[in-house]
């Protein structure tokens, strides 16, 4: 874990165990401006981005005890909560909120294949970024739109003017390749 991730995990433990408002405010001040910016980059208007961010923070406050630093980083945990909420909000489904326990946020270690051989999150991220940089340009451009801009394949086809079938097949090639690189990287690292 990076020093920042360690610090955040410790703050989160304080929130879970002691309902520590000061610790929560520190996490709020770190994560909420970044989530808000990210959501706006994906196309949410300011009001919606702030609303999703606030709801993710409400979840963080009330469900802090569901977070387990051995299973994911707080950044990733919070990211999943916000992502799921964004999908609900897009459908005007206002009656529910995202319960982190509903999603695979909290996966028992023994159910992760090859748990012993897992490389840490930072290494995985580096492996994936390097593999993305290695993709042929025609795939890399589409992966950017699909992954970093969170566009659907139809939206990408409309934006680039490429046929939908071409978009799908290039993106499939790219992600199958990323997966192979990741799995090969994991094996090497575990050896």
């Amino acid at each position: 874990m990076t020093p920042l991730a360690c610090e955040h995990a410790a703050l989160m433990a304080s929130v879970a165990e002691r309902r520590d408002r000061g610790a929560f405010a520190t996490l709020f001040d770190y994560y909420s401006p970044r989530l808000n910016a990210y959501l706006q980059r994906l196309g949410a208007d300011r009001t919606t981005a702030e609303e999703i961010t606030q709801e993710a923070m409400v979840t963080l406050w009330h469900k802090a005890d569901l977070f387990d630093s051995a299973k994911s980083s707080l950044g990733t945990w919070l990211y999943r909560v916000a992502r799921n909420r964004r999908i609900d909000i897009a459908r005007r489904d206002r009656v529910d909120y995202v319960d982190p326990s509903e999603y695979a946020l909290d996966i028992p270690d023994d159910q992760i294949p090859d748990a012993d051989g897992m490389i840490d999150a930072q290494t995985r991220e580096d492996v994936l970024r390097a593999a993305m940089a290695d993709l042929p340009e025609e795939q890399r451009a589409l992966v950017r739109l699909a992954f970093f801009d969170s566009l659907s394949h139809s939206e990408i086809a409309a934006r680039t003017g490429l046929p939908l079938g071409t978009v799908k097949s290039r993106i499939r090639l790219a992600f199958s390749r990323l997966r192979r690189v990741l799995e090969a990287g994991g094996v090497d690292d575990a050896a």
Binding site: F28, Y31, W61
Partner: protein, 221 residues
């Protein structure tokens, strides 16, 4: 990984599922397909590692974003501390994992199923010009009439199993049928098969019987 029971595709290195998982990770799927993939991850561990890695990568983008503070920070914090703890999600049923239960609204035994074809019942969850999401309840050992799709069809098996030319799928497995795949899925003997299917365009039955059935069932809307 020896535990992979992914169907053996002719070009087995390209799995449409990997791209679907990537779209899930970044929230680019419609609500029904998002719930389908979330349910797959809960039921079947084989893709969790890949998904977790992509989610770490997406979360890394959040960490890299230039901060844009929320308006009214102190009031927001006060509102959070004053908020009531949200109610817990309903417990998943033995058939429907939590994300699907939330999407559908009630368990399979409480739904009004409609007969779609002999031996096939359907509960339509949502429908739009972009496609539809349905639960399908198919008797054991039944062959679904040969059909193709205008778009692609993503299916999650919730109970029982089915097979087609691309492989065999059991509880928790996702099958992806492309627009051009003319398939005749057959369900496993002995147990009814319950599936959740999302298509991005209406399906078309093919073959002589299919074309007649299609006129009555498939394209009535």
């Amino acid at each position: 990984m020896s535990s992979m029971h992914q169907p053996a595709h002719p070009q087995d290195t390209i799995k449409p599922l990997d791209a679907l998982l990537a779209s899930y990770c970044v929230g680019a799927l419609d609500r029904a397909t998002h719930a389908l993939v979330a349910s797959h991850l809960l039921l079947n561990p084989q893709n969790r590692r890949f998904v977790a890695a992509l989610e770490d990568l997406a979360a890394g983008e959040v960490a890299r974003a230039a901060p844009s503070p929320l308006s009214g920070r102190d009031a927001r914090l006060a509102a959070i501390f004053a908020s009531a703890s949200p109610a817990a999600a309903p417990a998943p049923s033995s058939i429907l994992p939590a994300p699907l239960l939330r999407l559908v609204g009630s368990d399979v035994s409480d739904l009004k199923w409609r007969k779609k074809l002999p031996g096939v019942r359907e509960y339509r969850i949502s429908e739009s010009e972009r496609g539809e999401a349905s639960l399908l309840w198919i008797g054991g050992g039944r062959r679904i009439p040969s059909h193709t799709h205008e778009g692609s069809e993503v299916t999650l098996v919730l109970q029982g199993a089915f097979s087609d030319v691309t492989g065999r799928y059991g509880r928790g497995d996702i099958a992806i049928a492309e627009a051009d795949l003319d398939h005749r899925p057959i369900t496993g003997e002995g147990e009814d098969c319950i599936c959740f299917a999302v298509t991005d365009a209406p399906l078309h039955l093919t073959g002589p019987v299919g074309r007649i059935l299609d006129r009555f069932f498939g394209r009535a809307h």
